[in-house]
């Protein structure tokens, strides 16, 4: 774990550009298309090799959809997803199948994502049946090896999922994801369904596996304190778009986007002396419908710092500080591009020296 945080120097393993995932809405007797739920609406980010990118946001913000579209469990509406040099979004079915072993997923609900009629050995071994032509002995050996890796007793290989607790079931799901030696794993709320005392076990396991196997994670969660623990960089999503993407320490110390700020201030801290001193930003109202997002900035209906421009022009995600990307008009002037005071200052300074 000592080498965490130098992720920037590494190569991006996953490059997402302008990813859109719109789900059509059909209505009326003729089932005509009347609109679309813009679950993900133009999302771009990189995940570097060996790092954990945390993806946080409230329910309905599109974070799980991003995770699924990344592995092409959905057909993306638009955009590109380059994983290890190949664009997943446009790959042919055959080529995609060959690509599958390197990218896997751990699902939220360990109860629903394991077939109740299959034994643990069959569940963990299924990817091997699908993607390798190994003989039984080799497969069994691999299944045992995987069970050791995730801390499941080998004696339980012939048991069924219902005989396990939630935490152990999640270990089965992780072992299955590891079966084909993937490089990239999407963890979609892997601890949300678990009890507090079990969550830490699973998170520690994921971290150990990352260190040992050099895995790259997209860690999707709504638990901001757990994301602070596990992620190197964090993307905050709101209504289908990324509001802010920053290195972990910077984000938690000083969130830049007003939504990221409000979200962090809403998380209760398990310390009464901190709690009594805290100033909360209470957001008014609810998240608008992704089928009908507001004009301009999608956060303008609830933003405590809203300006007239926010209701008109959609802000672009721009690098406002080294490594920190924010989509907000408050930072229009610092976002290295047009109308920034930076170059002007640089122009004036030499003049000052001349006089």
């Amino acid at each position: 774990m000592a080498d965490r945080g130098i992720a920037q120097q590494r190569q991006p393993l996953v490059q997402v550009r302008g990813l859109k995932m719109h789900f059509p809405i059909f209505a009326g007797i003729l089932r005509r298309r009347v609109g679309a739920v813009k679950a993900v609406d133009g999302v771009s980010f990189d995940i570097f090799e060996g790092e954990t990118l945390g993806l946080v946001g409230e329910s309905g913000c599109g974070k799980s959809t991003v995770g699924r579209a990344l592995l092409r469990l959905y057909e993306p509406t638009d955009g590109s997803v380059v994983i290890g040099g190949e664009d997943i979004a446009t790959l042919s079915p055959d080529a995609l199948r060959k690509k599958r072993p390197m990218m896997q997923m751990v699902f939220q609900d360990p109860q629903a994502s394991l077939n109740p009629r299959m034994t643990v050995a069959a569940i963990i071994g299924e990817p091997l049946d699908e993607h390798t032509n190994w003989d039984e002995a080799a497969k069994t050996a691999r299944v045992y090896e995987l069970m050791d890796q995730v801390g499941l007793n080998r004696r339980f290989a012939n048991r069924y999922p219902h005989e396990f607790s939630g935490g152990q079931r999640q270990r089965i799901g992780i072992a299955r994801a590891l079966a084909l030696n993937p490089k990239f794993i999407v963890c979609d709320e892997p601890i949300a369904a678990l009890d507090v005392s079990i969550q830490a076990q699973v998170v520690n396991l994921l971290e150990d596996l990352q260190d040992r196997l050099g895995l790259t994670y997209l860690f999707i969660s709504h638990d901001l304190s757990m994301v602070r623990h596990i992620a190197d960089r964090v993307a905050v999503m709101y209504l289908g778009q990324i509001a802010e993407l920053s290195p972990r320490e910077a984000l938690y110390a000083r969130p830049l986007h007003p939504y990221a700020e409000a979200l962090l201030s809403a998380v209760p801290e398990a310390d009464p002396s901190v709690e009594s001193r805290r100033q909360r930003i209470i957001l008014k109202g609810d998240v608008p419908s992704p089928a009908n997002p507001p004009k301009g900035c999608n956060f303008c209906t609830r933003c405590p710092k809203v300006m007239p421009v926010c209701r008109e022009v959609e802000p672009r995600l721009a690098e406002v500080e080294p490594g920190r990307f924010v989509a907000c008009h408050l930072f229009d002037n610092t976002a290295g591009g047009h109308a920034s005071p930076g170059p002007e200052v640089r122009e004036h300074n030499p003049q000052g020296e001349m006089t």
Binding site: D195, S197, M226, A270, E275, R278
Partner: protein, 336 residues
Amino acid sequence: MPDGASPVLEVRGLKTVFRTRGGEIHAVNSVSFHLRPGELLGVVGESGSGKSVTMMSLIGLLPSPPAEVRAGEVLLGGRDLLKLAPRELQEVRGAKVGFVFQDPMTSLNPVFTVGNQIMEPLMKHMGMTKRQAEDRAAELLALVGIPDAKKRLKSYPHQFSGGMRQRVMIAIALACDPDVLIADEPTTALDVTIQAQIIELVKELRQKLGMAIVWITHDLGVIAGIADRVMVMYGGQVVEQAPVRELFVNPQHPYTRALLKTVPSLTGDRAARLEVIQGQPPILQGEPAACPFRARCAHAFDRCHAENPLRRAIDGREVGKGHDVACHWSPEAAHG
């Protein structure tokens, strides 16, 4: 909240058992606590620790069979609720004790308007006419922060968002001015920004109305921000009880200590590795004859396997009044 004020609710030695084909499950085992007027008691525990079953036992909300409240007293306004006939208990539920459940999606009836559901307890318990109840329902909706209350009375639950539905649930629970409000994981199903809204609302309502609240949660952060006093439950028992600051500063039970360490902090130092409580929560089969936490406890010794510890005060005050813990091990003794 003067210390000497007589409690509005007092529970003594409550035992609830579920009879199943596999034997008896002792879900709640000798739970005692009290609630002072205007106080907010936080109840923390994992799923299966018996926190919800305890509260549901109090007012007869558990189906029997399989549930059976085997022993104990629940004193509310001088009456023992466990001795009341079902009809009398119905008079207590909703009128004297309000309940807010975890899931606002399933606890409202989808085929009745929201107004209808708020008016029901008003007409039933307070003897209001329909007109009066309607006015009061609109007041209540406004009180819980729903704009345009009069109009929204005619809406159905599906027309509200999750946070708004939970506000409606709170309005129903408060309708008859209950002495005690029991909130069972009221914010667990909600997003953090909505959770913050609901917590603010409850703080505000406490100041305005002054009822006593029992707030059940597994989230130590929520407890830290809202509770006056905390009761930690594990394996169907109260393992520790203390005023909120005392509990977080000076936790005594190994379970409480471990629980506080497993939750990563949002602002404090970031640990390289999370502390882990090994093993699984216990299955509460049979009469509990030993400490329920013994199998996962780092400090367990012979006595823990032979004898279920009783709650003992650690600050010289009466058990339940100050800081007490149900554990044979003591940190002071261990540190010499």
